[in-house]
C-alpha cells in the first residue's frame, strides 16, 4: 500500500482552475490525487511529475468514463457534479478541452448548476422570510453568493466568446 495523506481545502466552484493547479502542484511534488470528498483530498505517493490531474463538471456517465479510460486517464473520484481524472505523463499530454467551444459548454454546465441551486435558495429564502422560520436570511445569503459565482463564470465565458470572434 502506498503512503497516503489527506488534506482539507476549500475551493469556490468558480475557482476550479485554481483547484486543478493546486492538484497538479501536489503531483509535481510527488503526491497524486487518489480520492476526493467534501473539501477532502486524499493523495498517494508518486514520482514527482509522474501524473497530470484534471477535473471536470460532467454528469456521471459510465460511457464517458470508459471513453476517458481508453485514452489512458483514470477516474480517481467524483464529488457532486465533478469528476477527477489523472493520467501518467508518460502516456502523453492530458487536457480535457482543446477548443473554445468545448470550454464554453463546460462553463455553461457549471453555470446551469449554479443557477439551479441559486434559484432554489432564493425561492426558499423568500418563502422563509415571510414564514415563521428565522433562517430565511441563510438561504438569501447562499443565493447571493451563488449569483456572484454565476457572474464570475459568465465573465470567463464572455472573454472566451470575445476570443472566438477572431479565431477558434
Amino acid at each position: 500500500m502506498k503512503e497516503r495523506k489527506t488534506l482539507y481545502r476549500w475551493f469556490w466552484v468558480w475557482d476550479f482552475e485554481k483547484e486543478e493547479d493546486w492538484l497538479n502542484e501536489m503531483a509535481a511534488n510527488g503526491w497524486v490525487l487518489a480520492d476526493v470528498g467534501f473539501c477532502r483530498y486524499t493523495f498517494e505517493r508518486c514520482e514527482p511529475g509522474e501524473y497530470t490531474v484534471r477535473l471536470e463538471n460532467h454528469a456521471y456517465d459510465e460511457t464517458y468514463v470508459d471513453f476517458m479510460r481508453d485514452t489512458g486517464a483514470e477516474p480517481v473520484g467524483r464529488y457532486f457534479q465533478w469528476i477527477y481524472f489523472r493520467k501518467p505523463v508518460e502516456l502523453g499530454r492530458f487536457d480535457l478541452f482543446s477548443d473554445i467551444d468545448s470550454r464554453i459548454s463546460h462553463l455553461d454546465r457549471i453555470g446551469k448548476s449554479l443557477s439551479l441551486i441559486g434559484g432554489a435558495n432564493l425561492l426558499i429564502g423568500i418563502v422563509n422570510s415571510f414564514g415563521p422560520s428565522r433562517l430565511g436570511w441563510v438561504n438569501l445569503l447562499c443565493a447571493t453568493l451563488l449569483m456572484y459565482g454565476l457572474g464570475r463564470i459568465h465573465g470567463k465565458k464572455e472573454s472566451l466568446e470575445k476570443e472566438r470572434r477572431l479565431h477558434e
Binding site: F67, D95, S102
Partner: protein, 106 residues
C-alpha cells in the same frame, strides 16, 4: 440548416480521421499524426464533438465488435460530402491568399 459555413479545425480533423473506422483514442492519435503533432484533440472536446456529429449524422457509431467495449465511428456519405465541400472552400482560401500575397511570400 446552413451547411455552407466553415468547419472548425476540430470537426474537420475528426471527419478526416473517420474516413476509415476508428475509436476515440485512435482518432486522437491519427489527428496528431496527420498534423505533425500540431493539433492535439483533448478527450472531453472529442467526446462532445463525436456526440454532436452523430446527431447530425455526419458520422455513425458502428455496432460493437465482439468482446470490445470501445465505440467505433465512421464517416457517412453525407459527412463525406460536407468534408469535400470544406476542402473546396479551404482551397479557395489558400488560392486567394497566395494570389494577393504571392509576391511577398518567400
Amino acid at each position: 440548416m446552413d451547411e455552407n459555413i466553415a468547419l472548425t479545425e476540430t470537426t474537420y480533423y475528426i471527419l478526416l480521421a473517420l474516413y476509415n473506422p476508428a475509436h476515440g483514442y485512435g482518432i486522437m492519435r491519427q489527428v496528431e499524426e496527420l498534423s505533425n503533432g500540431r493539433v492535439h484533440l483533448a478527450a472531453g472536446t472529442l467526446y462532445g464533438a463525436l456526440n454532436t456529429l452523430c446527431e447530425k449524422e455526419w458520422i455513425i457509431q458502428l455496432p460493437y465488435e465482439e468482446g470490445s467495449r470501445k465505440k467505433e465511428y465512421q464517416l457517412t456519405d453525407y459527412g463525406l460530402e460536407i468534408l469535400m465541400k470544406e476542402i473546396e472552400r479551404l482551397k479557395e482560401l489558400v488560392h486567394n491568399g497566395e494570389m494577393v500575397l504571392g509576391g511577398i511570400r518567400e
